[in-house]
């Protein structure tokens, strides 16, 4: 009976389609919401930060390990920067002052994005105007590029008529005492929220 045969084929086709769609939905749930989702299997974590080897403003080679055990506030800047960099350093000093002695644990780091011009001597002179606890870091172009990459920070040399300037990430990275990334303070962030964020890494 050909008609019955076609009905049977049709029915099996429908069963196959339903089975396929169900499997796809189940697989989708498994990977997006269920036990197989990315953050459950340890993928896709925003790994900001990491090891670095740089030279401080006294000319001494330093790695990230020397700051381990203390939360860090990491800022990328350069000494030929008239606004963002001084403003940020002054703001960080004001914020830590408001928090008081509890903020003494926080290590503020200024990492130059312009190692060609920012020698340790240049950084040392520059930092005379700010909180003496700030550590300035420079290094070879490769060393600086490596830390920029680890922090997913941006820096680009922009030629001008008389030399060049730098475009650069203007946020402060707040790192936990174990060196892991916690959060960022934006350039225009209100003091109250910046204070709350610093307190989070001091805990």
């Amino acid at each position: 009976m050909p008609i019955l045969k076609w009905v049977r084929y049709g029915a099996w086709t429908a069963v196959a389609i339903v089975a396929f769609v169900s499997a796809a939905i189940l697989l989708g749930w498994w990977r997006v919401e269920g036990p197989g989702r990315a953050d459950m299997v340890g993928q896709n974590e925003p790994a900001v930060g990491g090891p670095f080897t740089l030279v401080n403003h006294a000319g001494k080679t330093m790695t990230d390990m020397e700051f381990r055990g203390r939360p860090m506030a990491v800022f990328f800047g350069f000494t030929n920067c008239p606004e963002v960099c001084p403003t940020t350093l002054v703001q960080m000093a004001n914020l830590t002052k408001q928090i008081g002695p509890a903020a003494d644990r926080l290590q503020v780091l200024l990492i130059t994005v312009d190692p060609e011009r920012d020698t340790p001597e240049q950084l040392a002179l520059y930092l005379q105007s700010f909180d003496p606890r700030v550590v300035g870091l420079t290094g070879s172009r490769e060393q600086v590029d490596a830390v920029l990459k680890a922090y997913k920070a941006y820096a680009k040399k922009i030629p001008t008529d008389n030399g060049y300037t730098m475009d650069h990430s203007a946020s402060v990275y707040l790192m936990r005492a174990d060196g892991s990334f916690r959060t960022m303070i934006d350039y225009h962030e209100e003091d109250t929220s910046a204070l709350a964020k610093i307190r989070m890494v001091l805990e």
Binding site: T79, N80, P82, P86, N162, D167, S169, S171
Partner: protein, 163 residues
């Protein structure tokens, strides 16, 4: 009686002056008024510094700040700072800053501002820095920048200061 009136007048005058003490530091050229030029002190090794001011055009024709010169640096340029996606950028504005009639333009930190490029020495808080500003139509005017603290913010406008 006279002394009483004089005293009252003096008191009234000094009181009337209070809100504008810091900005009682204006210059004029043509129909332009330049309000309170100030600069930020710079760290010892800095080669650049920011200069800020207000320009009010009470005339009927548009004008344009083209730049100028200063005793404190090799060049006085106009730059614009911008922030997008957490990235700070600064670019020279080679065609200057337009000041439309009836408008006030403020050159301030993190926006369009003057840049003292190749400083001859650090700018120190309390210093006064001579400069000449050049406008397209009004011509040149000599001003003095008051150097404020390194992280100084623009003062509140007189409107706000009185509240």
């Amino acid at each position: 009686m006279n002394r009483l009136i004089m005293g009252a007048v003096a008191a009234a005058l000094s009181f009337a002056h209070l809100p504008t003490v810091a900005s009682a530091h204006d210059y004029a050229v043509g129909s332009l008024k330049i309000g309170h030029p100030w600069a930020r002190a710079t760290p010892p090794s800095a080669k650049v510094g920011g200069g800020y001011l207000k320009i009010e055009n009470s005339g009927t024709v548009p004008d344009r700040l083209l730049g100028g010169t200063t005793e404190a640096a090799a060049r006085l340029e106009i730059h614009e700072s911008t922030f997008t996606d957490g990235i700070a950028r600064m670019r020279e504005q080679t065609d200057g800053v337009a000041v439309e009639p009836g408008e006030t333009v403020e050159l301030r930190p993190n926006a369009i501002h003057l840049m003292l490029v190749d400083l001859k020495g650090p700018l120190k808080q309390g210093d006064k820095v001579k400069a000449t500003l050049r406008f397209e139509k009004a011509g040149s005017v000599e001003v003095e920048f008051q150097v404020q603290g390194i992280g100084a913010k623009p003062q509140a406008t007189p409107d706000h200061a009185t509240h």
